[in-house]
Subunit: 200 residues, 2 copies
């Protein structure tokens, strides 16, 4: 079995949503599983000097238009959230708690949180958003919500942000295949070529 | 005849090279021509607060690796230039002079300047680089070089930078189809889908 594909993302990234809905099928086609790695880009932006795209003059307007068009082109529902950006702390912790306690649900939970945010306008950092996503994938919502306060999970998220920085992750989504990083939802076709052994 | 595809780019952009080698065939497949619009991103970065990707911590390392891999995946030669970045002023002026005096050579000149830079390590801002590219496409090199000092061409470049800003161009390459902007070489597949009438 080849190594998993590592999918690093921030919950405030519309492009993470667009890629998250495709990455598992893409990996499975090549005999790979996916390691879901929610991270907090805010900490990383301090190192790179980048700012969130939506905050930038010109680029912010582009992103709003582009993310919506991207969704139409790949056939996914999309609406820009009413509350944006949000802190990724709570939903990221929920993901790591689920990975530890019901690992087979991890990908489904990530997709439910992201699609809740970018298709249904439900804030994934809110208690209601976490409860809704957890229940949608067959988990006990109150257990998942309580899990976000688990000290082990809190430390895990910090460690994953550090690991992402060490691996060169500076944007979202950032997909790592056998040590090779690919930034952006629009790079999934190149991730697929790489998995096919091309470009090496 | 449908409106031309407008291809805005900065000569210091490796992704401009990767897209420039493909954009004309892509446009032609859909009955479109290409308007080649070299611009100066430095002026635009002052508005957006962005910095050149290669200068950024983490992102710079990624770009060097990514541009090379991108070239391998699309089958183009590539090497990171010895002198980088360069000022796009002289080669951009050369392009606008040629557009005014031998318009059918405009695209070929852009490709010769960009591939000279990113495949053959020839600085396109140098006199030698401009002479080489002009001659490669069948133009009189000394005429093109002299053209870069033409006051009309100098004003034209300034006007094109202003027009690009007005059109929302904040990165390179930036392809505009019927008013719809697409940022990045990795968006050419989406440009093609758009030209096919999808996603509208």
């Amino acid at each position: 079995m080849s190594a998993p594909v590592r999918f690093c993302f921030d919950f405030s990234s519309p492009y993470a949503y667009l890629a998250a809905m495709q990455i598992e099928r893409l990996a499975f086609r090549h005999g790979r599983t996916v390691e879901w790695r929610p991270i907090l880009l805010g900490a990383i932006f301090k190192i790179t000097g980048m700012r969130p795209g939506p905050d930038m003059p010109m680029r912010g307007d582009y992103m709003r238009q582009d993310a919506s068009r991207f969704a139409r082109l790949v056939g996914l529902p999309f609406r820009w959230p009413t509350v944006f950006p949000i802190s990724g702390v709570a939903p990221s912790r929920a993901v790591y708690w689920v990975e530890a306690h019901a690992p087979e649900k991890t990908g489904a939970l990530c997709r439910a949180l992201l699609s809740g945010f970018f298709a249904d306008d439900v804030d994934p950092s809110s208690d209601a958003g976490i409860l809704r996503a957890a229940r949608a994938v067959g988990l006990k919502g109150t257990e998942v919500l309580a899990g976000t306060q688990d000290p082990v999970v809190k430390e895990r998220l910090k460690a994953e942000v550090d690991a992402a920085i060490a691996a060169g992750v500076f944007g979202s989504p950032f997909t790592i295949v056998d040590g090779e990083g690919f930034w952006g939802a629009d790079r999934l076709p190149q991730v697929e070529l790489w998995l096919e052994g091309k470009g090496r």
